[in-house]
Symmetry: C2
Subunit: 349 residues, 2 copies
């Protein structure tokens, strides 16, 4: 198989962890006889510095000519005082919108050997295995009007039935490949958009009689993620709720440094990135945990290229290194052997 | 002192826990020589049943003629299929708006003897002591336009500078009576309303040089509440974020059944209610935990009536009963003695 991958390392530890993932991809290519063409381009703060644009036209063109996008991380305090259109995050928002990456997929799975690092009691966090499906191109992030003056400000939360249908369908399909339970999160007792959301879920349910559907209010979901995270299989929700709940979920198993994500378009094209951020404080020290980036690359093989055994091989390699007792410093506990980013990657390969 | 209290028991366990609080208030009145006139009125589902209105005019009048409102809980599946204007929650939203109860105050404090019930590890949850200040009458809940048709739906997130100023000032004042740290939560990297919010906090900060101010993005706050809840002293945020984060915070110490809340107007008038809901499943069994209702009544004495020793006496009485090893069934652990709601209240008195 021959594929072109746009590689956008971004800021902070982005380049280090992306390079780690690239090394593993190259070794996969070699072993399985694939060719991955890598096209590097700038996004985020580094793109602001070089092009005065967090998502330069050059980068868009590279991505348009590719089969998938592998991203590191964006952001850093250096750009904090910039106006909105020159901030790293704007690059992320624009690329999502430009490529219509409406479905953000975030698996959260407890890793037994890491439960020590969880803030939750082991009996609460163990065996958690869920996927959050977040709508990524609608809602409060993009709705108009959106404006501000001296005296007041407004943002607009809009959803069309079509936007809701496609994300909800996507979530139903994922639920079908898993334990068959879908939790739809909204605030239907207050918001009109949530009422429409709930209506659509109720309708689509008929096409998925095999899936158990549950509606949950967002405030209640924020509690249940902590008190009973095992109660979730697939959770689907709108953009802003998904932002909050997926970050909340990312810390419950103690493995934030391990979590990958995918942001998908309807045709399978997608952007893959670790959930953790750019972590400027540990940049350039060869200590960052590359697991999330590697696992994001594995998601890319699976979702955009349909290379399932290759994806599993990558996932098993990462888990194997952890099980052998090696880890990067973020996961250090008595009895573990701390290694550098490079050494970790070599072992994975 | 002579005060009139509007008592709105509401639905589910609301009447039981409110009656518990009333009993304790009566005993306080007797011991300290105060007179509390109690005026009962309907709100929520029971008001829908009796008046076809979750906040009847009669109830508004009773509250207007009172010095404070003590509320139980509203809601239940019985009214789930009703149209919005006939749902119990609508009563709550309307009373907040009608009385301009803009400041929702929710203290979350770890109780050593209850840490067992926390989903968090003891070393994470112990010594948590924070207050969440949520804006309660603006934002997405009330902004116009708010509408829905077959094809799409919209809600509007609006804030005026004035609305932000008054809640932020309130939070600064609370921080001053505590450890002097204020965390303002927003999504200033995406929302215009959040940019205005952050601007106001930065301005008001000058008037409070003694307070340490920190800005935090809502997604990050959702993580930090779990990974490092002790890092918070006072948190201030807008309505919807506050809804989600305060419910998340309510479960971290394992004492949801203990948490009181206040919703205040600028002049000190306020509505006091337990954080827990109406719990229809345990209604009428004399097993509900009345602590949150009693502690809400204590907040009423403190905030609306300036009766500080009386409030402390109530708080200490509840903690004393717990320390003596008694609890309601929700808090049962080996070695504790489970008692009924009535017995618990008698012991508090
Ligand atoms: C950087 C920011 C705009 C972004 C978001 O809120 O969507 C991030 O928090 C995320 O969740 O991917
Ligand atoms: C009942 C509901 C409208 C309400 C809210 O979201 O404000 C409740 O969740 C709360 O937090 O008091």
């Amino acid at each position: 198989m021959e594929k072109t991958i746009a590689v956008l390392p971004g800021d902070g530890i982005g380049p280090e962890v992306t390079e780690a993932a690239v090394k593993v991809l190259k070794s996969i290519a070699m072993r399985y006889g694939h060719t991955f063409h890598l096209r590097y381009a700038a996004i985020g703060g580094i793109a602001v510095d070089q092009y005065e644009n967090p998502l330069p036209q050059e980068t868009i063109e590279v991505c348009e000519a590719s089969d998938a996008i592998l991203l590191g991380a964006v952001g850093g305090s250096k750009w904090d005082q910039h106006p909105s259109h020159l901030r790293p995050e704007k690059g992320l928002l624009s690329i999502r919108k430009h490529f219509d990456l409406f479905a953000n997929i975030r698996p959260v799975k407890a890793i037994p050997s890491l439960l020590d690092s969880s803030p939750l009691k082991e009996e609460v966090a163990k065996e958690v295995d869920m996927v959050i499906v977040r709508e990524l191109t609608g809602g409060l992030y993009f709705g108009e009007p959106k404006r501000r003056n001296e005296k007041s400000a407004v943002d607009t939360l809009v959803y069309t039935r079509k936007e809701i249908e496609r994300i909800v369908n996507h979530a139903f399909e994922i639920a079908r490949t898993r334990r068959g339970k879908l939790t739809s999160v909204d605030k239907a007792n207050v918001l009109e958009t949530s009422k429409l959301w709930r209506e659509v879920v109720e309708e689509r349910k008929n096409a998925y009689p095999d899936i158990e559907v549950e509606h949950m209010l967002v405030d209640s979901a924020a509690m249940k993620l902590i008190t009973n995270p095992r109660g979730f299989d697939v959770m689907v929700t709108e953009n802003m709720f998904g932002d909050i709940l997926s970050d909340e979920a990312s810390v419950i198993t103690g493995s934030l440094g391990m979590l990958p994500s995918a942001s998908l378009r309807a045709d399978g094209f997608g952007l893959y990135e670790p959930v953790h951020g750019s972590a400027p404080d540990i940049t350039g020290q060869n200590i960052a945990n590359p697991s999330a980036a590697i696992l994001s690359a594995a998601m890319m093989l699976r979702h955009s290229f349909n290379l399932h055994s290759e994806a599993s091989a990558m996932e098993e390699a990462v888990m194997g290194v952890l099980e052998d007792g090696y880890c990067t410093v973020d996961l250090f506990k008595d009895g573990k052997r701390v290694v550098s980013t490079d050494t970790f990657v070599t072992k994975v390969i």
